[in-house]
Amino acid sequence: MDKPITPPFVLGAPSAVVLPTNPPNVSMLRQFCECYFDLSGLILCPVLGSIILLFIPNSRIRLIRFIGLCVSLLTFLYSLVLWMQFDSSTAEFQFVGTIRWLPHENINLYMGLDGISLFFVVLTTFLIPICILVGWSSIESYGKEYVIVFLICEFLMIAVFCMLDLLLFYVFFESVLIPMFITIGVWGSRRRKIRAAYQFFLYTLLGSVFMLLAILLIFFQTGTTDLQILLTTEFSERRQIFLWIAFFASFSVKVPMVPVHIWLPEAHVEAPTAGSVILAGILLKLGTYGFLRFSIPMFPEATLCFTPFIYTLSAIAILYTSLTTLRQIDLKKIIAYSSVAHMNFVTIGMFSLNIQGIGGSILLMLSHGLVSSALFLCVGVLYDRHKTRLVKYYGGLVSTMPNFSTIFLFFTLANMSLPGTSSFVGEFLIFVGAFQINSLVATLAALGMILGAAYSLWLYNRAVLGNVKPNFLHKFSDPNGREVTIFLPLIVGGATVELPKKWPKNKMV
């Protein structure tokens, strides 16, 4: 296979096309197919899969699920191929491709990957097969729509991470809400799912309206929404502050930061297992990715101005949500609140603006995607068997489900960032980065380390150790083959992502 052409960074030529010149009346599908092993192929693969699935009748549910799983695994292999072809010696965007959309307004589907988005794309394609496997036996109604929704969701999420055009990033960023709304609303577990779905959707959308205004303002000032041009544009300081606040309104809801985090426990609790996996694994990262890709590079002076603000909110969030987690009685809510705390660690690291902080935040994002998803899968295993999520009904699971207890212990320890797991690398680098800028924030964040151990271990003790409660627990089956297959890649990921432990040493020595 030949290496895709990476165009040099050309200023003022946002529509630099890598496709062979074609007369404009050739259909878009032809254009896609001519570029194999390109980003367009990666993005299109799940869409094609879902189109194929539309034509299969509902009765052949096993075939539907099998095809869905194959398509998602194919997408995962595709992204691995892209990873292998990735050239890590440059900081340019690679696999760049453009599809002309509105050439007069200089808005095109401008796609590209760099080192940061590559890993998020791989994480996305890694988690979707797991989600489809999760719903194998527990989804009784609308099974075909379930698989199709997740494939569409995958398409939209990959598109978000690949988009280098601000307006289209926004379009895909918001479109991800639609399949998630459907997932929570249709396959959630109890009546409160309707309220949770609406809350999730409207909260995020309200914040994003401000972002849309900001994008329009940027477009009217510069005449383009191409990221690479906007990175070189200088906005005045007053305008930067306004734009930063508008972007913050949108991203902070997704992160989630403290005043606007309320949608997260609701959405996570009411979503089905796979929905929670995608929410925790990918959707929370969209907010911090937006900060990293758009807010910080495009508005540097405003970032410096607002860094204390972000630090305050994040420190409050870490301490408040960790303490709140101690009081929860619902298994999923505990893990949901701990996700909030982890993502606020990420924002602290990101806004330290030094190499350790940003590196640590990316590592923590990736490892949180694996660990939180795995914890939701553990809870899903329990929920499938006992149909309750309240902690007081669980106890002594280690006696009857020893394999499950080992897996759960591993991810509990990863959740509290025990050294030896991937979360430790990210979290520690974040502390290092933050301490150099502001020792108070680093101290408060390190207090979150103690509280993290408290709620993680207490949950583990209550649910898994102790004596079995035979009044409530009637099924005693260890995870079956399908469930172990789901956990195995996550364990491998959680343990080996910290192998580049020599990397922080190289960064520090």
């Binding site: 025990l418 050294p419 101290t443």
Partner: protein, 402 residues
């Protein structure tokens, strides 16, 4: 350090083969003991702080897993959480110390830090925390010593050690003689060059160590549970080690650590042998007159008791007396305080060591009939480590003194 840790760990492993032989979960126990040794060795052999930290937290994890080994017992579960969380508070201090070191020295490599420590001791190097300017090296060393306080169960974070006796007895021999508890002292001793510069940090350590040793020893006098006596005894010896670091004389502290490893593992293991023989009865008041029933164990306990007391020419003497002398000769407030407060445990240690010996072996027979009828002396796999540790208790002090 490596000799002490590996010797004690191997004898505990051998010992627990036979101690845990009736327990269906003994493979899990051996696995967790090995994890504990692994993390301790990782922490001790690291040349930079980043390797120290996983080993440090890992021994905390190992103590959590080992204390709630018998997970159906609620007290054990609670004690395990307490151990892990109190350890974590210490880890928070250690983490702040490592972060401060990186910020100040821009490296984590220990040799580089030690070489550069003298250049950073002037007062203009400072951290700003809540708008107050602090001298950098002082902050770093105090944070590191908070880590040691947490790990070595000094006063303030001491609550976990007596409750940690919920685990099976080889656990207390392993964790509290050789690994977890001594990780704190070894960290301070390894990071000793930066500790030389802030006198405030050194006197803090001396105060903390002296207070720990005296409070632990006085509490141990009145304990009725055999394992708790040993727990408090461990705490007071750890207090000695810490205040030896604060005097400052790090080599004596590490020497005492090595002697303590041998001379504490021995009473722990013989206590385990007694408890095993008495069908898991731990209360000393319900034992007595076991000298004739358990002759080997009695002999081992008789060797193991005077050693931590500092009986002349046994192991403990060579390090413990030296520590007291050093404290006497240091004419600072902290040195004097340490000396007077460090003399209290000398008295208390001999009191509770011999009290436990008398109550268990020499007092008039007090146990239930079924325990006495079924008691058996230590089987060979348990006896061999005891004998090896006895040789250590007798001779290591003399052989290793420099």
């Amino acid at each position: 350090m490596l000799i002490a840790v590996t010797f004690v760990s191997s004898s505990v492993h051998l010992y627990s083969i036979s101690y845990m032989s009736e327990d269906p979960h003994s493979p899990r126990f051996m696995c967790y003991s090995s994890i504990s040794t692994f993390f301790m060795l990782m922490s001790v052999t690291g040349d930079n702080s980043i390797q120290l930290f996983p080993g440090w937290e890992g021994v905390g994890l190992a103590s959590y897993l080992l204390i709630n080994f018998r997970f159906t017992r609620l007290q054990a579960d609670k004690a395990a959480i307490k151990a892990m969380l109190v350890n974590r508070v210490g880890d928070f201090g250690l983490a702040l110390g490592i972060l401060g070191r990186f910020t100040l020295f821009q490296t984590v490599d220990s040799s580089t830090i030690f070489a550069r420590a003298s250049a950073f001791s002037e007062p203009h190097n400072s951290f700003i925390f809540c708008n107050v300017r602090f001298h950098a090296i002082t902050v770093i060393c105090i944070s590191l010593s908070i880590g040691a306080v947490g790990k070595s169960a000094q006063i303030g974070l001491h609550t976990r050690l007596p409750d940690a006796m919920e685990g099976p007895t080889p656990v207390s021999a392993l964790i509290h003689a050789a690994t977890t508890a001594t990780a704190g002292v070894s960290m301070i001793a390894r990071c000793s060059p930066p500790f030389e510069y802030p006198p405030t940090a050194l006197s803090t350590i001396a105060f903390a160590g002296a207070m720990t040793s005296s409070s632990a020893a006085t509490t141990g006098i009145l304990q009725n549970d055999l394992k708790r006596v040993i727990a408090y005894s461990t705490r007071s010896q750890l207090g000695y080690m810490i205040f030896a670091c604060g005097i400052p004389n790090y080599s004596v502290s590490v020497f005492h650590l090595m002697n303590h490893a041998f001379s504490k593992a021995l009473p722990s293991s013989s206590a385990g042998s007694v408890i095993h023989a008495m069908s898991d009865e731990q209360d000393m008041r319900k034992m007595g007159g076991l000298a004739s029933s358990l002759p080997l164990t009695y002999a081992m306990m008789l060797i193991g008791s005077p050693s931590p007391i500092g009986f002349p020419f046994l192991t403990g003497f060579y390090s413990k007396d030296v520590i007291s002398e050093l404290a006497y000769t240091k004419y600072t407030i902290s040195g004097n305080f340490a000396f007077w407060l460090g003399s209290v445990p000398v008295f208390s240690t001999s009191h509770y060591s011999f009290r436990s010996l008398f109550l268990t072996f020499l007092a008039p027979t007090n146990p239930f009939g079924r325990d006495i009828l079924r008691c058996h002396d230590a089987p060979i796999p348990m006896a061999i480590p005891l004998i090896a540790l006895a040789f250590g208790s007798l001779s290591v002090g003399y052989l290793a003194k420099v």
